[in-house]
C-alpha cells in the first residue's frame, strides 16, 4: 500500500511538478462534481464553469488550474480575508458591483496593456461590458456575462387563466393589471401567480429596485440615501398587494420558491438569467410539474422599462502582477481561455459580452434566447458604491421585515434610509 502511494505521488510529481505553472482559481456558482472537460455538454452554472476550468487545465500547455474551495454565501468575505492575509487566489471571479470596493484600493491588477498579448481582444467586448470592468479608465478584469432578473413562466398555468396570446405570455403593464392577472390565475388554477425568494437572498430587493427604477427613482444618489420616497412606496405596494390577497407567498426562500415553480404551483418565478438552461431541462423532464417553460423580460409596470442586472467578471490580484510575472502570465492565459469560451458560458442563460458571440448563429440558437431579447436594453443597477453589499443587506432586511414580520412600510423605509445614510457617511 505504502509503495503504491509513494509511486503514485512520484508519478504525479513527474507529470505536473516540473514545468507546469499552477494557477489557483477562486469562484462562486456552487459545486459540481465530475464536471468533465466537455464545455458543450454540462448543464447549470456550476458545472458549465467547472467544465471550462477543467478544460483549461487539460488544454493549456504548461498551466495547471486548481479550483479553491469557496462558499457562495460567504464568497466576498473569504476573498477579502484572503487579500488581507496576502494570499488571494491567482484568478478570481467577482461581480461588477464590487469593482469600486476592490479596485478603489488598488487590489486588482491593471490588465489594460497585457490583454492583447494574452490573446484577449477588448475591442470585441460590448461597450457596456468594457465599462463594467473599467475603473478610472483602466481595465481591471475580463467580463464574462451580463445577467439580469427575468420572469420565468409556466405557460400551462397562464394558458388556463387566458393569459397567453400568440404563443407568448401576457404580462401586466401596471400594478393594477398585475393584481388582475394574479387573481385570474388563482381563479382558474388555484395556484399562486408569482413566486420568488422573498425570504433569503435579495431577490425580492431586486424586484422592488426594478419597480423603483421604472418610476425614474433610485435608492441613493451620490452620498444621499433616497429610500423613503413615494416611488418606493408604490413599488412595495405593487408586490405586497399580491401577498395581502393570498396570490403569492412571501415566506419561500430560494430553494423553496424554485421548487414551487418546478412543481407547477406558481405561474411566474422571478429569478435570474442563470437558471434558464436548468428550467428548460427540468421542463423536458416528465416528472416535474412544469412542462411548458417560457423565459420573459421583466415587465414594465410603470413608466420606463428596468430590471436589475449585474456582470460576472474575472480579475487578477495586483500583487501577483507585481511579484510573480510567470504566474501572472499563466493567469492571463486562463482568462483568455475563459474569454474564448464565452459562448459556452452563455448556455446557462446569461447574456454574452463579446460582440462576435452575440452576433453568432450559435448564440441565437440557444434555447429561449429570443424570448428575453429585450432584457439587455432595460438592464440597470444601483449607482457604484464601495458599500454595495451592506446596502443590499439593509434593503433585504427591511423589505423582509415588511412582508415577513408585518413591520410598517413607513418604519421600514425610514429605518432603511437611516441605515443606508450611515453606510454612505462612513
Amino acid at each position: 500500500m505504502k509503495r503504491t502511494i509513494l509511486g503514485a505521488t512520484a508519478l504525479l510529481l513527474a507529470v505536473t511538478g516540473a514545468t507546469a505553472q499552477e494557477v489557483t482559481v477562486g469562484r462562486f456558482f456552487g459545486d459540481c462534481e465530475d464536471a468533465g472537460t466537455d464545455t458543450k455538454a454540462s448543464v447549470g452554472e456550476a458545472c458549465i464553469i467547472q467544465s471550462i476550468i477543467n478544460a483549461a487545465d487539460a488544454e493549456l500547455d504548461g498551466v495547471t488550474v486548481e479550483t479553491l474551495p469557496t462558499d457562495w454565501g460567504n464568497y466576498y468575505d473569504q476573498i477579502k480575508a484572503a487579500y488581507a492575509g496576502g494570499t488571494p487566489p491567482d484568478v478570481h471571479v467577482m461581480h461588477r458591483h464590487r469593482v469600486p470596493e476592490f479596485a478603489g484600493i488598488g487590489a486588482l491588477a491593471d490588465l489594460t496593456d497585457d490583454l492583447e498579448n494574452a490573446g484577449i481582444d477588448p475591442a470585441d467586448w460590448e461597450a457596456s461590458a468594457l465599462e463594467a470592468v473599467s475603473y478610472n479608465g483602466r481595465i481591471v478584469g475580463v467580463p464574462m456575462d451580463f445577467h439580469a432578473n427575468l420572469w420565468h413562466v409556466n405557460m400551462d398555468l397562464m394558458e388556463a387563466a387566458g393569459l397567453v396570446e400568440n404563443g407568448a405570455p401576457v404580462l401586466p403593464s401596471s400594478p393594477e393589471e398585475l393584481l388582475e392577472h394574479a387573481q385570474a390565475v388563482k381563479d382558474a388554477t388555484g395556484q399562486d401567480y408569482l413566486a420568488a425568494d422573498f425570504a433569503q437572498f435579495p431577490l425580492g430587493v431586486r424586484m422592488v429596485l426594478a419597480l423603483i427604477w421604472q418610476q425614474g427613482s433610485n435608492v441613493f444618489d451620490g452620498d444621499t440615501a433616497t429610500i423613503d420616497t413615494p416611488e418606493a412606496r408604490n413599488a412595495i405596494a405593487a408586490v405586497t398587494q399580491l401577498f395581502d390577497a393570498g396570490l403569492a407567498n412571501p415566506q419561500l426562500n430560494y430553494a423553496d420558491s424554485q421548487q414551487a415553480f418546478l412543481n407547477g404551483e406558481a405561474a411566474i418565478l422571478v429569478n435570474g438569467t442563470w437558471v434558464v438552461d436548468f428550467y428548460a431541462s427540468e421542463a423536458a423532464n416528465p416528472e416535474t410539474g412544469l412542462s411548458t417553460y417560457h423565459a420573459a423580460d421583466f415587465p414594465t409596470l410603470f413608466a420606463e422599462g428596468a430590471t436589475w442586472a449585474d456582470s460576472h467578471m474575472w480579475a487578477i490580484p495586483s500583487p501577483l502582477k507585481a511579484n510573480d510575472p510567470e504566474t501572472y502570465a499563466a493567469a492571463l492565459q486562463v482568462l483568455a481561455f475563459i474569454n474564448d469560451h464565452n459562448i459556452d458560458w452563455a448556455r446557462t442563460g446569461h447574456m454574452a459580452v463579446r460582440t462576435s458571440v452575440l452576433e453568432s448563429d450559435a448564440y441565437a440558437a440557444l434555447p429561449h434566447r429570443d424570448e428575453y431579447a429585450g432584457t439587455a436594453e432595460i438592464a440597470r443597477d444601483t449607482p457604484p458604491s464601495e458599500r454595495y453589499g451592506a446596502i443590499q443587506d439593509v434593503l433585504n432586511r427591511e423589505l423582509q421585515a415588511i412582508w415577513l414580520t408585518g413591520k410598517s412600510v413607513d418604519g421600514a423605509l425610514s429605518d432603511a434610509e437611516l441605515d443606508v445614510q450611515d453606510l454612505l457617511d462612513r
Partner: protein, 365 residues
C-alpha cells in the same frame, strides 16, 4: 573524565516547571494573548481590513470612538421605567437578593453576584434615546438582546435535556451504551452539517416536521422565516447539537454518586422521581453549575446556526453578536468597529468566567 549526564542537567523543581510550561506558554501567548491585545489595539483605530492590507499607514488612531459609535448615541437619556418589564424584574431581583442574604438562605458571594446582576438589569435597559436622539448604531443593542435571548433559551434547554438523558441512560446495559453513543454523535458534527440537517427538517416543503404536521392535518410552519419561530428553530438545532458534552459531564457526575445513597433511599421507599429529586439533583449541584456556566460562555459565541439557517432574519430577530462582528469586519471591512464589539463580547464572557470561579470557590469552603 565524562561527567554524569544526570548531574549536568539537574534542574530544580521550579526550573523544570518553567521548561515544561514553556511550550504551552509560547503557544498560548502567540495564539491567544497576542491576538487579544492586538484586537484591543485595533479597536482603538479606524482600520479598514483591505486598505490596511495594501497600505499599512491607512489606519488612524481614534481612541474610544469605535466604542462610542457602537454602543452610544445622540441624546441618550436614562429613565427609571424606560423598559418597565426588565427594570422591574431587576428591582425585584435586588430586593430578593437582599432578603435571601438577610435570612441566611444565600451565601454572601451568591447574594452579591445576584445583586450585581439585578442592579445591572435595572440600570442598563434604562438608557434610551431622548427627543431628537438616536443610537449611532441602532442594531447593536437589539443584537445583544437577541444573543442573550438565545443563551437564555439554549442553556436551560441543553442543561435540562442533557440531565434527563443522562439520568435515563446511566447504566450498564448494552442498549443504554448504544443510546449514549447515538446521543453523543450529533456533537461531533460540524456546524455546517448540523444546520444543513435542520434546514431540511424545518423546510415547509420537504421537511420532516412539515410532513408530520400535514399528516395530522395542520398547516406547516415556515420555521426559518417566521418571526415567532426563527429563534426557536435555531435554539432547537443548537440543543440537539450540543447535548453530547453536557450529557457526558452529567454521566460523570452521576457515576460519582454513591450507590449506597440510592439503596438507603430505596429502603425508605424513595425510588424513581423521588430519588432523582432528593438524591441525584443535590449531588449534581456542582456539575450543573459547571455545565451551565460552560454553556453560557459557549453559546454567547453562537454564529453558525444564525448565519447559515436564518441569515440573522427575519427582521434581525436572529441576528447575534458574533455574526454582527463578522459582518462588520469582513463584509463592511470595518475592523476597528468589529474589534470594539469583540472586546464587549469578551467582557461579557469574562464576567461569566469570573462567576464560575467565584461559585466554584464558594463550594470549596
Amino acid at each position: 573524565m565524562p561527567r554524569h549526564p544526570g548531574q549536568r542537567f539537574a534542574l530544580s523543581q521550579r526550573q523544570a516547571a518553567v521548561v515544561l510550561l514553556l511550550p504551552f506558554l509560547a503557544v498560548y501567548g502567540l495564539f491567544l494573548v497576542y491576538p487579544f491585545f492586538k484586537g484591543v489595539w485595533i479597536s482603538l483605530h479606524d482600520w479598514n481590513l483591505m486598505e490596511v492590507a495594501f497600505n499599512p499607514d491607512a489606519k488612524a488612531y481614534v481612541g474610544l470612538e469605535n466604542y462610542e459609535r457602537v454602543m452610544w448615541g445622540r441624546n441618550i437619556v436614562w429613565g427609571a421605567l424606560a423598559s418597565p418589564v426588565l427594570q422591574i424584574i431587576g428591582l425585584i431581583g435586588v430586593c430578593l437578593s437582599l432578603f435571601l442574604h438577610r435570612t441566611g438562605r444565600a451565601g454572601r458571594t451568591t447574594a452579591l453576584t445576584m445583586g450585581i446582576a439585578a442592579v445591572l438589569l435595572f440600570v442598563l435597559p434604562g438608557f434610551h434615546p431622548g427627543e431628537e436622539g438616536r443610537w449611532f448604531d441602532r442594531r447593536f443593542w437589539p443584537t445583544v438582546g437577541n444573543t442573550i435571548l438565545f443563551v437564555g433559551l439554549a442553556v436551560p434547554g441543553v442543561t435540562v435535556t442533557a440531565l434527563l438523558l443522562a439520568a435515563a441512560l446511566n447504566g450498564e446495559t448494552r442498549a443504554k451504551a448504544t443510546l449514549r453513543t447515538l446521543f453523543f454523535l450529533s456533537q461531533v458534527l460540524s456546524v455546517t452539517v448540523v444546520t444543513l440537517i435542520w434546514q431540511i427538517m424545518f423546510s415547509p416543503r420537504q421537511g420532516l416536521i412539515a410532513n408530520l404536521t400535514e399528516l395530522f392535518g395542520g398547516t406547516p410552519i415556515t420555521w426559518l422565516t417566521a418571526e415567532g419561530f426563527a429563534m426557536a428553530a435555531i435554539v432547537i438545532a443548537t440543543i440537539w447539537w450540543s447535548l453530547g458534552i453536557a450529557m457526558i459531564l452529567f454521566l460523570a457526575g452521576l457515576q460519582d454518586i454513591s450507590k449506597d445513597l440510592y439503596e438507603a433511599a430505596a429502603l425508605d421507599n424513595a425510588t424513581g422521581t423521588q430519588a432523582f429529586w432528593h438524591i441525584t439533583l443535590p449531588n449534581l449541584k456542582r456539575t450543573i453549575t459547571v455545565v451551565v456556566v460552560l454553556q453560557i460562555i459557549l453559546h454567547f459565541q453562537v454564529f453558525g446556526q444564525s448565519h447559515l439557517m436564518t441569515n440573522g432574519g427575519p427582521n434581525d430577530s436572529t441576528q447575534v453578536l458574533v455574526r454582527y462582528i463578522y459582518q462588520t469586519a469582513f463584509r463592511d471591512s470595518d475592523l476597528g468597529r468589529a474589534s470594539a464589539m469583540a472586546v464587549f463580547l469578551f467582557v461579557i464572557m469574562g464576567s461569566f468566567s469570573i462567576l464560575q470561579f467565584v461559585l466554584g470557590r464558594e463550594k470549596d469552603q
